[in-house]
Amino acid sequence: MTLLLPIILLPAAAGVASFLIRSHRFRRVVWVATAATHLAMSIAAAMPPEAATLGNWIGLDCLSAVFLVLTSLLFLGASIYGIGYVAREPVAPQPDLEDGSLFRNEPESVFTGGILLLLATMSLAILSRHLALQWVAIEATTLASAPLIYYHQNRRSLEAAWKYLILCSVGIAVALLGIFFLLMAMQEEPRDLTLTALLGQAAALDHKWLSTAFIFMLVGYGTKMGLAPLHSWLPDAHSEAPSPVSALLSGALLNCAFLGILRVQQVCAAAGMAAFGGDLLILFGLLSMGLAGVFILRQADYKRMLAYSSVEHMGILAVAVGMGGLGLFGAMLHAVNHSIVKAMLFFTAGNILSRFHTKDAAKIQGVCSVLPISGALWIAGFLAITGSPPFGTFISEFTILRASVEQGRWIVAGLYSLFLLVVFVGMSVIVLRMALGQSQAARQRESWTAVLSPVTFTLLALLLGVYLPAPLADKLHGAAGLLGGLAK
């Protein structure tokens, strides 16, 4: 398939060019044009029902098709939001309202270049069918996004970027060990780490090496995906990053690390070891959900609240994949829903932050009266992310619950429902208090770049709640089939 290469190379080329372009206006045009072209190419590549490949190393199956289109869609949303965002940011040094010290933003060219390189590396991570190449790409996403977190060059974002870089790099190094072990598990020729080779000889894989490899890869990629107790960098990085970047980190980048785990789980399932990986995934997943619930309950910072909510939803995905069966379809559907809603929430949080100049939820009241659109979006987003009907997340979370009940996993079902309830209560207190009430601040007109993406994403989340388009449903079922151990 000829489209696969441009999907990776176009954003890479645009990213490098962005470092060199002097005119702000022209660079922003390049940014949005690249995002739009990327989405068009991704949809065109994903539409055909059969899997596309480019050699053994790059390819697009149902699983990667879902994640590719999702990532591309989120990136376009973040780009439209982002051009307005960088245009609003002052060029001169600005005082940090916390400690009064002056800080200056990164040059806009570095920001735009980094975000486009992030898209290129994410595309490569999704399209790789060679697990070591996928590792290279996932580590590269860390490197491309670390400068983005440090966009506001102040102390807190520096701390966040440092933790992010160190912890994720160490975690991912552990995953690389796991990939080497996978090579040791292979008994037959060809001995390379392509999915084709791994799935082809899945039945003959050495189970001891395979289980060791799975554990190492789960811990490694789990760090990057934000599974508790390896998540400690995530709330810092996702709350200190500028809002369009937070949206991408939570909505798109976590999925890439998740895909790394899915690939090795796919190999495990094909080797008849789905239950071994599944139990570990359920354990990590429930732990993430519970821990996120606790921290959301006593959270004072609304961007950190959203970051912990990402930890929670990654936990939901891990639980769902761990259960298998109906849970696999639920997981794929939930990944789509979560990404769209979480991106939209971070965009809205960015709007609130730029109007109220504080991340302290207790200092904000009356968002609905000051920013009517963002206020409504904030409440809608809260309902969507906690899985209330009629949003798509309700369907996916309910599907996962049904899977656990059907399999008779009563403890999982009970804890899962309990943690969802805790998060609902925790978020409702914070969000509703912010959205309602009176504010001294004057009512403000909102720019179209600030509301176009979140409004569109909200409508999408609503649409997915009432109607699942047939092509998307096909892909989701196909992806669930792949995870269930079907070859191809």
Binding site: E98, N154, L165, S169
Partner: protein, 224 residues
């Protein structure tokens, strides 16, 4: 090959016991050079172009460029030695012996796979490197030592990779090397900023962002 493994183990013990950052950087540079020679040594005289490229690029990046970057970081800051690590240098050495025993235990228990390269002494030393890297990461205060620790750990992973398979596609090997290089380069870049902002590079001072402190304070206040 056994000589390289022994030297790698000795270099780690030296790292554990020394407080001077310049010494630590030189030790890590020596590790990089040893790892550069490793693929040539492993190939038993069949030098392909891929092995040459891998060797030379490892040697240049891990043996020369990254240590050089680190020493610039040291020169630009006021810090010359690691002060008051969470576990002292003598005790660190003792822990090192324990980690070595752990590495031996792990590698001896590895299931043998017929038709594969023998899992030998190199595997033990590589795992030891990984363990020492992780140990340094959690017990040292200086941000610079943390990035050195990352490099040591990454060296260990590289050793495991070379020990397990030489027929690994070298494009991927180079990709891994490039990732590590850019990663450490970015860390070095952030180190400059850390030095300026915090006037020291102690990672335990990085506590502004936390949810587990006694009184959760709210930061934030910058524009979006």
């Amino acid at each position: 090959m056994d000589i390289i493994s022994v030297l790698l183990i000795l270099s780690c013990l030296l790292l554990l016991g020394s407080s001077r950052l310049n010494v630590a950087i030189r030790v890590v540079a020596a590790q990089g050079i040893l790892l550069g020679i490793l693929p040539l040594d492993r190939s038993m005289g069949e030098f392909t172009a891929g092995i040459w490229v891998l060797s030379i690029s490892t040697l240049i990046s891990k043996g020369i460029l990254l240590p050089w970057l680190m020493s610039i970081c040291v020169r630009n800051s006021e810090i010359r030695r690691e002060i008051e690590p969470f576990i002292g240098f003598g005790s660190s050495l003792l822990c090192g012996i324990g980690l070595l025993a752990l590495a031996v235990w792990v590698t001896v228990r590895m299931p043998a796979v017929p038709g594969k390269l023998p899992v030998g002494f190199l595997m033990t030393s590589s795992f030891f490197l990984v363990f020492v890297g992780l140990f340094l990461m959690v017990t040292r205060r200086k941000a610079l030592t943390q990035s050195l620790a990352y490099l040591v750990m990454e060296n260990g992973v590289y050793g495991v990779g070379v020990g397990m398979s030489l027929d690994f596609p070298f494009v991927v090997e180079l990709g891994i090397l490039l990732d590590v290089f850019v990663g450490v380069f970015l860390m070095g870049n952030l180190l400059f900023h850390l030095d300026r902002e915090f006037e020291h590079m102690d990672v335990d001072k990085l506590t502004e962002l936390s949810d587990v402190s006694e009184s959760p304070t709210i930061d934030g206040e910058q524009i979006a």
